[in-house]
Symmetry: C2
Subunit: 218 residues, 2 copies
DNA sequence: ATCCATTTTTAGATAAGTCTAAAAATATTT
DNA sequence: AAATATTTTTAGACTTATCTAAAAATGGAT
């Protein structure tokens, strides 16, 4: 159906479109795909022929409904594989992206349906990002940064913003993982630090941490 | 390291070399890879440059030690993924080949090491073919066709020769799977049919079946 | 409104992998 | 051993996806 290169363009244009829904620029696409603007122009013209996006010279690019669906399906595959790598093969959150980047292009509807079942229909990937259903529909989550919470509020950890290895080890030490319930006890307006509670233990954490942790509020 | 096309050539030349260890012909390679002889020549010349095989014009091709190792590693990945698909995702034996054909090209040493562990270090794939170790060494199995067994001999089913869907259903009905112990009670020299025993049940099976089932003798 | 910087596109080139058609080498038959 | 058939290689062309360099369009700033 679509080549590996085409799939990568579709997926990345989808992500860019979230940030600029009015249309994605050629330069933005080129930068995201680590290629030259001239290459992006060529590919975008080819994809427009295939009716997965609309392209107006010098104006920009927008995915069609069909294009969005195809892109969402690639993202679905990527995130399901990430869950597999972390849950079943015990990879760390930050080690899975490159491998999932390859696995997302494996062609088989049946495979993905079975993988989904095997993983017990997860709704988010190891970074807390939502996994679209097989029709490409996202259930948008109420994911927000921990720093946005007020004292007495409680959230469930659903992901991290930047998954650096050091940061993940830091979280491990405090028993913070996906699904962990975090309550805010105090919040300091001067340096934006927080005192939080996890399973009867209290921790003091800095701004750097609160702005890197996503939580879902009930 | 090697492109997808290169990996496919290496893997298939490896298989062909098992049948003709003195050298593989260009036509045989082309046929196996479903391509034209001229394309095979081009690729073989390129791979000779990379020292994974020796090629003598008009004479044929032989993998180098290095080439064999690379090919064996691709086969290792293919067979491990097949085990995963059957054992974990409940695919049938005959449904997994195409998908494994894609998965075998995923690039990550770590992934394969973890997958191997997760599957508890299997020694054969769902078809009973041996899985080489990470150095590319095959432990050759005493796999033989059921038809070669004599009355009173017992073997453990390790695979099938041709995994047609009908045949697998036939086996299912008689509770024959990988690991099933089969004892030969009688053998008819006229039509090569057999009477066999499986867990206190006896079955009458024809030549067509005995020549499609691989068993390992203790 | 003109000039300038930036963005975007076009034109032409390259590399990988394939193809067809024709030429060359090898194998087989008589 | 010559003629014929088969196998294999070479030469040149095509497609996909990329690049560089140059041209064209756009958007501000003055």
């Amino acid at each position: 159906m679509f080549t590996l290169a085409e799939e990568n363009y579709l997926k990345n244009i989808f992500h860019l479109q979230q940030l600029s829904p009015e249309g994605v620029s050629t330069n933005a696409i080129a930068e995201k795909l680590d290629t030259k603007p001239s290459s992006a122009t060529d590919m975008v013209q080819k994809l427009a022929e295939k009716d997965v996006l609309t392209y107006i010279k010098y104006k920009g690019t927008t995915l069609t409904e069909n294009g969005k669906k195809i892109a969402a399906n690639i993202i679905r595959k990527h995130r399901l594989w990430e869950v597999f790598l972390v849950e079943k093969l015990n990879f760390q959150w930050d080690e899975v992206h490159e491998i999932a980047e390859q696995l997302e292009h494996i062609q088989s509807e049946d495979l993905i349906a079975r993988l989904d079942k095997y993983l017990e229909y997860p709704s988010v990937d190891p970074h807390g990002d939502p996994i679209p259903d097989s029709n490409g529909n996202f259930k948008k989550t109420e994911k927000k940064l921990l720093s946005k919470l007020q004292p007495s509020q409680t959230g469930i950890c659903v992901g991290v913003k930047e998954s650096a290895s050091d940061f993940l080890k830091y979280l491990d030490k405090r028993n913070i993982a996906i699904g962990t319930e975090i309550s805010v006890l105090e919040k300091d307006d001067f340096d934006d630090s927080m005192t939080i509670q996890i399973k009867n233990e209290t921790y003091f954490i800095t701004k750097k941490v609160t702005e890197n942790l996503y939580v879902q509020i009930n």
